[in-house]
C-alpha cells in the first residue's frame, strides 16, 4: 500500500513524536539529576541543574568510589557473566536441540517436555535449593555461574532451537552424511551456519535476561567478592542509611549508557529477535 500520506498520517507522526519525547523523560531525568547535588534531587527533581545545584562530575566520582567495592569491578563481572553464560547457552542448547530433533528417541522427548515445563517455573520455587546447590558445587564465581545459567535458562533456548531446527530441511544433512561427514563436522560445517537467525533471537533474549538479572546472582554468587551491576545498585541504595541519590543516579547512568549504545547499533537485530522469539511461543 504505497498511497500518499494523508493529513491523518501526518498528525499521527506529530502525536507519536510528542509521546516519544515524554517516553524518554525518565532517562533524561536520570541524566540531569546525576549532575545535581544530593539535596536538590528530591526537592527540585524536574529542574535543570543551576549554579547552586550543579556539581559537575562529582556524583560520578562519588558513585564509582562509594562503599568498599569498586563499581567498575561490578561492571566487569556483569560483562563476564553475561558473555560467558550467553555463549555457553547458545552453543550447548543448540547442540542439544539438534540432538533432540534428529535422534527423537524417548530420552529426547522427555528432555524436551522437561524444558517446556521449566519455562513456567517461577524462580522462587527453586531459589533456595538452587543457591545452596550452586554454593556446594562451587558455582558461586563469575567464571562458573554460567553453568547455573545454562541449567536454568536451557528451557526457553532448547524450546526455541528445536522449533527452528524442525523446519531445517534434512536433505542437506543427508548429503553431508553421505559425503562422509561425522556428526560433529555436519553440525559445525552445515547446521550451525543455518541457525544464524535463531541464534540472534535466543542470544538477544538471554543477554537481556542475564545482564539485568538480580536475584539469581545475588543468591548464588559469593557477593562479598563478586557483584554485578544490579547487585551493586541495590547495595548502594539498600544497605546505607543515608542514600546519596545524586551518586546513585550517576551509577545508574553509567550502567545504562553502554546498553543504550549497543541497542542503537543493534536495534534491528534486537527487535527482530524479540518478534521472532515470541512468535515461536
Amino acid at each position: 500500500m504505497k498511497e500518499k500520506r494523508s493529513f491523518g498520517n501526518k498528525l499521527l507522526t506529530v502525536i507519536f513524536a510528542i509521546i516519544s519525547i515524554v517516553y524518554l523523560v525518565p532517562i533524561f531525568e536520570v541524566l540531569i539529576n546525576s549532575f545535581k547535588e544530593n539535596s536538590y534531587v528530591n526537592t527540585d527533581t524536574f529542574a535543570l541543574p543551576n549554579a547552586e545545584s550543579f556539581v559537575g562530575f562529582g556524583n560520578y566520582i562519588k558513585g564509582v568510589t562509594f562503599g568498599n567495592y569498586p563499581f567498575l569491578m561490578s561492571v566487569f563481572y556483569s560483562f563476564v557473566i553475561t558473555v560467558l553464560s550467553a555463549g555457553l547457552i547458545l552453543l550447548c542448547t543448540s547442540m542439544a536441540a539438534w540432538y533432540i530433533v534428529r535422534v527423537n528417541d524417548l530420552f529426547s522427548k522427555i528432555m524436551y517436555y522437561m524444558c517446556v515445563f521449566s519455562m513456567i517455573i517461577p524462580f522462587q520455587m527453586v531459589m533456595f535449593t538452587l543457591s545452596s546447590t550452586a554454593d556446594r558445587l562451587k558455582l558461586n564465581t563469575p567464571w562458573t555461574i554460567p553453568i547455573v545459567y545454562l541449567g536454568f535458562g536451557a528451557g526457553l533456548a532448547v524450546f526455541m532451537f528445536t522449533g527452528f531446527i524442525k523446519s531445517v530441511p534434512l536433505e542437506i544433512e543427508e548429503a553431508a552424511a553421505i559425503d562422509g561427514c561425522g556428526a560433529l563436522t555436519t553440525y559445525f560445517q552445515v547446521v550451525f551456519p543455518l541457525l544464524k537467525s535463531i541464534m540472534i533471537s535466543v542470544g538477544v533474549l538471554q543477554v537481556m535476561w542475564i545482564w539485568n538479572d538480580y536475584l539469581l546472582p545475588y543468591l548464588s554468587l559469593d557477593i562479598t567478592e563478586y557483584k554485578t551491576i544490579p547487585i551493586h545498585v541495590q547495595y548502594l541504595k539498600g544497605s546505607y542509611g543515608t542514600v546519596d541519590l545524586g551518586a546513585t543516579m550517576a551509577v545508574i547512568m553509567i550502567s545504562i549508557i553502554p546498553v543504550i549504545i549497543v541497542y542503537l547499533f543493534c536495534q534491528k537485530y534486537i527487535i527482530k529477535g524479540v518478534a521472532a522469539g515470541a512468535v515461536k511461543g
Partner: protein, 306 residues
C-alpha cells in the same frame, strides 16, 4: 506465523543415516546441557518439593513434618494479602499494557513517517533492569509527590499505581513489537477485500484485524500474565512492600508486597520459617502454572486458523 502442523512428517523422515552418528556423540551434544539442566533445574525443583514438607534452616538439616508448612502458609495473612494484591495488580497491568501496546502498534503500522524511530524509543526501557527501573521511578514519583507534600511510600495506592505505570513504561514496547509482527502478517488481500466490500475502519478493525492477531494476543497476554505474577525486582526496588499496615490481631502486613517478594521475605528475613516459605513457593508455582495453562487454552480457542 507458521503453525506447527508439519511436525510429524518431518520427524518421521529422520533417517537412521542422520540419527545414528548423532546418538553416538551423545556426550558432546546432549550431556553438557543435561548435566547443567539437572544442576540448575531438576535437582533444585525436586529438592524444593521435598523441602516444602520439611522443617529446615539449611538443605542439610531437613526433618520431615508433613503438610504443616502448607497449613501455616495458607493461614498466613501476609501471604493472603500478597495474593490479593498481586491478582489486582495483574488484572490492571494486563489490561493496561495490552490495550496500550495494541493501540500503539495499530497506529504505527498505518504508514506513519518515522515509525522505526518511534518503535526504537518505545522498546528502549526493556533494556533497563528491574532494580534500576525501580530506583529511577521512585525518584520521579517522589519528585512529583513532593510537590504535594507527600511521598511514594506514604500510601498503598501510590505504590500500586506507581508500579502499574512503571510496568507499562517497560512492557508496552515489548508487547508492541509482538503486535506489530502480528499486524504485518495479516494477508493484504484480506484487507483489500474488506475495502472493496465497503467496510469502514472500525468494521475492518473488529472483523479482520483483531481476529487475525489473536495469536499475538495469546502470546502477549501470556507474557504479561506470567510477568506480573512473577514480578520481583521492580516491586522490591520501587516500594519494597512499604507502607506497613496492621490488620486486626496486630499482624503486620506490607501492603505493597507481591507474592514473589513475600516468599523471598519469608525465606530470608529469618531462618525459622524456611519450610513455610518453600511451601508458599510450591503453591506459587502451582498458581502460576495453572493460570498460564488456562489462559493459553482460553485464547488459543479464539485464534483464526490460516
Amino acid at each position: 506465523m507458521k503453525k506447527k502442523k508439519n511436525k510429524p512428517s518431518a520427524s518421521a523422515m529422520n533417517s537412521r543415516l542422520i540419527s545414528r552418528p548423532i546418538r553416538r556423540c551423545f556426550p558432546i551434544f546432549m550431556l553438557p546441557t543435561f548435566i547443567a539442566f539437572c544442576i540448575g533445574f531438576i535437582w533444585p525443583f525436586v529438592q524444593g518439593l521435598y523441602l516444602s514438607f520439611c522443617k529446615f534452616t539449611t538443605t542439610q538439616n531437613a526433618s520431615f513434618i508433613g503438610i504443616e508448612n502448607y497449613v501455616k502458609a495458607l493461614q498466613d495473612p501476609t501471604f493472603k494479602h500478597a495474593f490479593g494484591y498481586t491478582t489486582l495488580f495483574a488484572v490492571v497491568s494486563i489490561i493496561a499494557i495490552n490495550v496500550l501496546a495494541f493501540t500503539v502498534a495499530y497506529f504505527l503500522t498505518q504508514n506513519v513517517k518515522g515509525a522505526n524511530v518511534f518503535r526504537t524509543v518505545f522498546f528502549m526501557p526493556n533494556l533497563i533492569g528491574g532494580i534500576v527501573l525501580g530506583y529511577i521511578w521512585s525518584m520521579i514519583f517522589d519528585g512529583i509527590l513532593s510537590k504535594y507534600d507527600t511521598y511514594l511510600l506514604a500510601k498503598t495506592e501510590y505504590g500500586f499505581w506507581g508500579l502499574v505505570i512503571l510496568m507499562c513504561w517497560q512492557q508496552v514496547g515489548y508487547m508492541m513489537i509482538i503486535y506489530i509482527a502480528g499486524l504485518q502478517s495479516i494477508p493484504e488481500d484480506m484487507m483489500e477485500a474488506a475495502k472493496i466490500d465497503g467496510a469502514n475502519k472500525w468494521q475492518t478493525l473488529w472483523s479482520i484485524t483483531i481476529p487475525n492477531v489473536m495469536s499475538s494476543v495469546t502470546i502477549c497476554v501470556f507474557l504479561t500474565l506470567t510477568n506480573s505474577f512473577k514480578l520481583f525486582d521492580q516491586n522490591m526496588a520501587l516500594t519494597g512492600g512499604m507502607p506497613v499496615a496492621f490488620e486486626e490481631g496486630g499482624v503486620m502486613v506490607n501492603t505493597t508486597e507481591m507474592l514473589a517478594l513475600n516468599i523471598y521475605q519469608t525465606f530470608y528475613a529469618s531462618a525459622n520459617s524456611r519450610g513455610v516459605a518453600q511451601a508458599k513457593a510450591v503453591l506459587f508455582f502451582i498458581l502460576v502454572a495453572t493460570l498460564a495453562l488456562l489462559q493459553l487454552r482460553m485464547t488459543r480457542e479464539k485464534e483464526v486458523q490460516q
